[in-house]
Symmetry: C2
Subunit: 408 residues, 2 copies
């Protein structure tokens, strides 16, 4: 059997000093690790990245949440409040190409590791900051979590039913979505840095990142003159029908199917009507044009729903795909976790961590048909000796002495 | 006044032949353009990128939707079905570092511009494909739009109210979210290509991209043993309170405020109770620990809502930020469009296109305190002469003759 995974070597030799925690920052540096950079997490010896311990008061257990966002990284546990510990981290920063942090506003400054200080010791470094709100924003001191970004950056305003309070999109793209934009910027800026030798300060606000993902809703606002509305399961633009979620056989919470037809391709409409045995409606004056289909969409949805509710969501999806109508069953996390082709083609892999084995998703872009090979997330401090030896040439005895002094 | 914008030169000299359309592909290549690459859209002389014309039957008008996703790019209008047109595009591909497409499955192959063919004429090229479903998926022939990806990749399953049908997250991160992952991969792979001279095939499926953004929901499933649920406006993990949307004064559709308190920081809880004048509840047995706050969250939400409903959402947000409690008002697209500090710090810019002027958002990462300067989106075929002259050395007379032959 051919191996469908491989190590990516895009960033061979690139060194990253990683102060990130939780998700917006860790997802960013994980991309660098997956692309072959040596990413070293700098963690507090007591508790480490707080996402190692999502159950306060209980022992560290490095849950799935932590493992998923820290695969392929290394970990040093070092006390940044000891002068010796801080000095060692500064030595690491001197050797680094990239550093990243997403701490609360003011924290990195209090450690003396702000951009101006780090730039003095390493003018070649790309220094990356993720914050909730940008400098210059009235909210710049605000703490940010995924849901705060999704509120203040727009996503919540467009999600839910019209005339009802909004809901939060259930996934955390406030975090991961921000991390991806910073990852792309680092990878871009590194091209320039390699050419010019000149470091840069890269800063992203989670609120701004959300606006970036909201641009189709801004387009809708520009067309209608009103703020983009909530439209339930309908597409946000609101100028296309039939399009929406339809009930499938089974009656479970996710037994639904998304079907859409594009105005740009009138064939979608005729193919759909033929499939459900309603050729009679193709030229029916209630439905014959895109405009009247939008006007009469409720009636039309009922007709299509009669057909979909007699079919299993996967069967209906395959029937629609076979005739060239865009369709997607609503899959939940368990169905996706158990989707056999994810594993067969290397998108989901079994990976061993120090505390167990998971089947989890890797980077979703395939290169020459192969996916990034997952390596386990590190135990807290697992690579202290390896990295201090490799980057700084510290001998085992030096490290042991420092450990006695409480630096690690 | 200092200019808060700048041209980014990360990709100085990098050439991109861009076959993308609509959103998942165009957002990807726009990042390359913003980072300084020369990105040339290859468009059909008749109608161009279909997103130039979202009102079929009406004249092209290059709406906001098109302009937002194609800023800083160039456009060639060329007939790929004429042998001469195809030959010219192949000459452009020979000079390119990167090419990208997100057409329906099979389309690029029918044009004879599939990876194997392009690799033969340019083995150094990074060839990028965006599809709805991956090769090897049972759905690999499926057409994809944003909402299909959000159904089949999980986001819809976790969005909405429990015990109700799901809703679609209102924004199009099925498209833009996919584009960003491909952009990061291109920028990473280019480092390797610059070192090795060896091109690569990069492929992403929108379904897989959605799984990438769903990972926190997978973590919740791993903790609970059940598929991640819909939780209305509550955070997806479900193990933290108080956290959620609270009504603000005004009663408008977006007069809401997200407040969250982190278990990892018990101060959030005490600060919040002090602010709303309910110190008495801090040690109340119904609310004294994280666990009981989760159990009694409905009662607690009512108490907090009494306070928030007396305050404007912005005032409440600022009061909460001032005492160090994570909070975000729900802003709609109009409020964000009119947020003055977005413009003051260069995140939103006035940009002239051939057919008008907009105030729109640029790339959200600031570099050394400055944002990417926006240039207008191109008119269809605006740069045909410029690019064919610059890349291939074609003279004006050659181009005129080809135009007579119907190539452009």
């Amino acid at each position: 059997m051919t191996d469908v995974t491989q190590e990516f070597k895009f960033l061979d030799g690139v060194k990253v000093v990683d102060f990130t925690q939780f998700e917006a920052g860790t997802t960013c540096t994980e991309v660098l690790a997956w692309f072959g950079a040596e990413v070293v997490k700098i963690e507090n010896p007591g508790r480490g990245d707080p996402s190692r311990r999502l159950r306060p008061g209980k022992p560290d257990d490095d849950p799935w949440y932590f493992r998923q966002f820290n695969a392929n990284k290394k970990s040093i546990a070092i006390n940044l409040k000891s002068p010796k510990g801080l000095e060692i981290v500064k030595e690491l920063l001197k050797k680094a190409d990239i550093t990243a942090e997403n701490m609360a506003p003011g924290t990195i400054e209090r450690l003396g590791l702000d951009y101006e200080s780090v730039k003095k010791i390493n003018p070649r470094i790309l220094y990356c900051r993720v914050k909730g709100f940008a400098g210059g924003s009235p909210h710049e001191k605000g703490l940010a979590f995924d849901m705060i970004a999704q509120a203040a950056g727009g996503p919540i305003s467009v999600t839910g039913w019209p005339d009802k309070p909004p809901v939060k999109p259930g996934l955390s793209f406030g975090d991961t979505g921000t991390g991806m934009l910073m990852a792309a910027t680092i990878l871009g800026a590194l091209h320039e840095r390699n050419r010019t030798g000149q470091g840069r300060l890269l800063e992203i606000a989670m609120q701004d990142a959300m606006v970036h993902y909201m641009r189709t809703c801004f387009a809708t606002m520009m067309r209608t003159g009103k703020p983009a509305q909530r439209r339930g399961a309908k597409p946000s633009a609101g100028n296309n029908a039939p399009a929406g979620l339809f009930p499938a056989k089974g009656g479970g919470p996710n037994d639904y199917l998304y079907i859409t037809t594009s105005r740009a391709n009138p064939e979608h409409w005729t193919r759909l009507m033929k499939l459900i045995g309603r050729e009679d409606l193709i030229e029916d004056p209630r439905f014959a044009t895109g405009d009247v289909r939008v006007q009469n969409s409720e009636e039309l949805d009922g007709i299509i729903g009669e057909w979909t509710s007699k079919h299993d969501k996967r069967d209906a999806m395959e029937k629609l795909i076979a005739i060239g109508v865009p369709a997607g069953a609503v899959f939940d996390t368990m169905e996706l976790q158990n989707e056999p082709t994810f594993e067969a083609r290397g998108f989901m892999q079994h990976v061993k961590h120090h505390n167990g084995e998971d089947k989890m998703a890797t980077w979703p872009v395939r290169v020459d048909g192969k996916s990034v090979r997952l390596k386990g997330a590190p135990a807290l401090g697992q690579h202290t000796e390896e990295v201090l030896g490799g980057w700084l040439g510290l001998a085992a005895a030096d490290i042991a002495a420092l450990r006695n002094d409480g630096v690690f």
